[in-house]
């Protein structure tokens, strides 16, 4: 394979040997350290692919994180994905796919000197990218309104009235702060019996089924796993009897992964806009369209990532 390569770059040399530096005169876009347009194009393309490889690992690590979290709390994922809006997610998927398509068409337009078509395609792609972000914004806002957030915020009462509801009940007695019936030591004669470790603690240690803070009881886990078409109400998730522990971690990974993808879309908006301007200035032709091609590759990868994100978050049965 490697030899195929070197061989190839050689015949590039050989092929253009007769008009060696002529290329630089003939092709103004040819950088000084490249011999032929093909070498330059191939280099750019390989560079982009290697960069995409880093992107794959960048997101890949997050997918690993996702897999492990879901593996640890399957009930959380199957429960919490009910809060995500499948319709909006589906629309977004289609938007991205279409913008990917227009991008691909745009590349062909550039290759075939169709300036008008190129500009149109880039504009459409740009529109798709922005549309995606707008829809995402509405999704996020809906969740924020209902405190479907990361970390502790997830457990905060949504409003004063909700706070009242959850405040009503007496605090559980095992809360140490309240168990303040302090036995007065001055009654020195009263000897506490030696307390053996509480049985639950012992069992927890003997067979490591439970962590330091106990486990979700089987019943609840099963309950949480069964919502076939169960649709929880986002606004009072705190009062939902089926809310499994550690649900906040689902939203943590959800915001991180979709957020990082969103950032990539944002970058895409930037570069595509730049392409659009350059294209209108007529910078690209069948001789020189490398930037369009490379941005195209980047944009398709953004699409690829979403193709995986969508089922993994929105389509959990």
């Amino acid at each position: 394979m490697s030899n195929a390569h070197s061989a190839d770059s050689h015949d590039a040399h050989g092929h253009d040997a007769h008009h060696g530096h002529g290329d630089h005169a003939k092709y103004p876009f040819l950088a000084h350290h490249f011999d032929t347009p093909n070498q330059q194009f191939e280099s750019g393309k390989l560079g982009m692919w290697v960069f995409l490889a880093t992107e794959v690992l960048f997101f890949g690590a997050l997918f690993v994180m996702y897999a492990i979290m879901r593996f640890k709390n399957p009930e959380v994922f199957s429960y919490a994905s009910n809060y995500l809006d499948t319709i909006l997610g589906g629309i977004n998927t289609c938007v991205l796919i279409l913008s990917s398509l227009t991008m691909a068409v745009g590349v062909r337009a550039a290759q075939t000197n169709k300036k008008g078509l190129l500009v149109t395609c880039l504009a459409l792609t740009l529109a798709g990218a922005i549309g995606f972000l707008v829809i995402k914004y509405f999704e996020y806002r809906h969740k924020f309104e209902h405190n479907l957030k990361w970390g502790i915020a997830f457990y905060q009462p949504i409003d004063a009235q909700d706070a009242e509801t959850v405040k009503m009940a007496p605090k559980p007695v095992e809360n140490p702060v309240l168990a303040i019936a302090a036995p007065n030591p001055s009654a020195g004669a009263k000897v506490e019996p030696i307390v053996p470790l509480p049985p639950v603690d012992r069992s927890a240690i003997a067979l490591p089924k439970a962590g330091p803070d106990g486990v979700a009881t089987v019943a609840l886990v099963e309950k949480a796993q069964e919502p076939v078409h169960y649709k929880p109400q986002a606004e009072d998730h705190l009062l939902d009897p089926m809310l499994p522990p550690q649900t906040h971690r689902f939203f943590a990974i959800y915001y991180i992964m979709t957020g990082l993808h969103g950032i990539h879309v944002l970058i895409g908006v930037g570069v595509i806009a730049w392409l659009l301007v350059m294209a209108m200035r007529g910078a690209y032709s069948s001789d020189y369209f490398t930037p369009v091609d490379l941005v195209g590759l980047y944009w398709h990868v953004v699409d690829l990532v979403w193709i995986f994100l969508f089922p993994l978050f929105y389509l959990i049965h």
């Binding site: 070197s6 280099s43 880093t54 971690r249 943590a252």
Partner: protein
């Protein structure tokens, strides 16, 4: 830097070289010339090396005293060793060889005019600068005491103010390293002139290629890991922090998935340099080219399969411990192969003990120790005892510093004449090398005994009885103090050696004898262009021969250097000898 241009010698005899091609500070800051970028990387990395070294000396000096000292609290000590580790790893060792020496040498060795993406190259240098600035920022923000490994949950809860800044810095430095890697991969694939086949490429380039693969594939994972850690620390979302349901062992998996391969980002280019130095200075064809070349690639691939051996005691499951321990040994083999090949290269050579060669031989000595002491750490039952003790510290200093950094300095001496067109003082070079060698062994060999005797690493004090403070380890002074004293003494000797090196190298810049094009008698392409090289490396596409075939290299009294008979060299190579 600009002062260089004032030097008459160069200006007179080499009207156009990359130093004099354009003048003024801006011509450096906005240069796209890989050589100038390499030089800027070099001096930046050396500056960071100085800072990291000072931190190391502070730490060692503290350890002269077994108990508490007034001038350095436990907190300051923790911050000092953390800073030392972070700077040395992220700012010095990782960029020094690929980004500094590699940037300078790779295109010339390859016979290319420049790297594939000069702008990207400059950009990655400024990313590096940004990362360095973040490190400074973190110091202003109160420093960071997490250890360079940033283990959660301590790193996500530590009171120190500089944790997030330094993590941001690491993130940025990661991308600087990624872009360098991309550049090298593409350059080596696409910019080889006719005749430069894969098996005529110098082994340094093979090493850089293997390194680039790791940089490209592993570094993104570090990026995402520190990003997650920043988020965890800022919003406490429960990815890594158990108090919110996270899993600290998972952080270690993510961290070491990058940081173990990163160890080879540090050592592989060093091995490449040593292959060059050993072969050139013993004026003898490298022995077993293909074995060395492929062992580099093998190491690069295996390095992704063994990260778990950093976690034998971390709560990783026994099954994975056994698995990782077994795979780890697969990395030992290629390293051993390289050492044997270097030895065989010496056989029947014509060895001249120049300063670079001295560093090369020290590398073999130190790397052998570093490699062999890795074995008890890869073996499960013994690692349980040795893990997180000074034994580990000694081991990775032998590999990271005794090997990677010594190779870097060796390479610096090897290519210094090429970079700046001047010769440094061989006399002082040998003295400094000897000091560094002796000092290094005094410093770190003692730490093997410290560790196997059970002294844990990252300990501010190792004997409390003298200090009379509750809690400190007791009754260990008699066991450990002597070792710590030898170690600290050695570190001072080593520091002296480095200071001398710095002095005579700087001196040579201004008053050094003009260097011939080929002072050592190398046969690879960089020795066939003038010293310093012209702005665009080669006026005409160079004729490529076997870069380890010295039959066409001859001594030239007039130049006080060697000359390569290009035609004879190219033809002797095409005559199918060797490989």
């Amino acid at each position: 830097m600009t002062t260089l241009d004032a030097r008459p010698t160069i200006a007179a005899e080499a009207p156009d070289n990359y130093l004099t091609f354009r003048r003024g500070l801006l011509s450096w800051l906005f240069t796209l010339d890989h050589k100038r970028i390499g030089v800027m990387y070099l001096f930046a990395a050396l500056a960071s090396f100085f800072v990291g070294g000072v931190m190391a000396l502070l730490v060692r000096t503290k350890l002269l005293f077994p108990g508490e000292v007034a001038w350095m609290t436990a907190d300051q000590y923790n911050k000092a060793f953390t800073l030392h580790g972070a700077i040395m790893v992220f700012l010095v060792i990782i960029p020094s060889i690929p980004a500094a020496l590699g940037n300078f040498v790779l295109p010339i060795m390859l016979g290319a005019k420049d790297v594939a993406f000069p702008r990207l190259n400059l950009f990655s240098f400024y990313l590096w600068m940004l990362g360095a600035i973040c490190a400074v920022w973190s110091l202003i923000a109160g420093g960071f005491d997490t250890g360079w490994t940033f283990y959660t949950p301590y790193s996500s809860t530590s009171q120190a103010g500089g944790v997030i800044p330094v993590l941001v810095g690491v993130f940025i430095l990661g991308f600087s390293s990624i872009f360098t890697g991309i550049n090298f991969v593409v350059t080596i694939h696409k910019l080889r002139p006719p005749g430069m086949t894969w098996f005529r490429m110098p082994l340094f380039l093979w090493a850089l290629y293997a390194t680039a693969i790791i940089q490209v594939l592993a570094t993104p994972v570090l990026g995402i890991t520190v990003a997650l850690l920043v988020i965890e620390r800022a919003f406490n979302i429960g990815i890594f922090d158990p108090s919110m349901g996270g899993d600290p062992v998972l952080f270690q998996h993510f961290f070491w998935f990058y940081s173990h391969p990163a160890v080879y980002i540090m050592i592989l280019p060093g091995m490449g340099i040593i292959s060059e130095i050993i072969s050139v200075h013993s004026h003898r064809h490298i022995f077993g080219f293909r074995f060395i070349a492929f062992s580099s690639i093998a190491i690069a691939i295996f390095s992704f399969l063994v990260w778990g051996h950093h976690m034998f005691t971390s709560g990783q499951s026994p099954l994975m411990n056994v698995l990782f321990s077994a795979i780890t040994f697969s990395v030992a083999i290629p390293s051993a192969v390289k050492v044997f090949n270097w030895l065989a290269t010496l056989y029947k050579g014509s060895i001249s003990l120049n300063t670079p060669m001295l560093y090369g031989l020290s590398f073999i000595f130190l790397f052998t120790i570093g490699g062999l002491t890795g074995i008890p750490l890869a073996v499960l039952s013994t690692d349980i005892h040795l893990h997180d003790t000074y034994f580990v510290v000694a081991h990775f200093h032998y590999v990271m510093m005794g090997s990677a950094l010594i190779a870097m300095i060796g390479g610096l001496h090897h290519w210094w004449p090429k970079m700046f067109g001047v010769m440094y003082s061989e006399f002082w070079g040998k003295i400094a090398c000897a000091l560094v060698f002796v000092g290094f062994n005094l410093t770190f060999f003692t730490q093997f005994m410290l560790g196997s005797q059970g002294m844990p690493r990252r300990y501010y004090a190792y004997d409390g009885t003298s200090a009379g403070i509750p809690g400190y380890v007791e009754g260990m002074a008699e066991t450990f103090r002597i070792y710590h004293h030898i170690s600290t003494g050695g570190s001072y000797i080593m520091a002296l050696g480095f200071v001398i090196t710095g002095i005579y190298l700087l001196h040579s810049l201004f008053a050094g004898r003009k260097a011939p094009a080929n002072p050592w008698g190398g046969a690879s392409l960089e020795w066939q262009c003038t010293s310093p090289p012209p702005h665009d490396n080669f006026s005409k596409t160079p004729r490529v021969g076997d870069c380890y075939d010295f039959s066409a290299v001859h001594w030239d009294e007039k130049q006080q250097g060697y000359v390569v008979d290009a035609d004879a060299h190219a033809s002797s190579a095409t005559s199918g000898k060797g490989h």
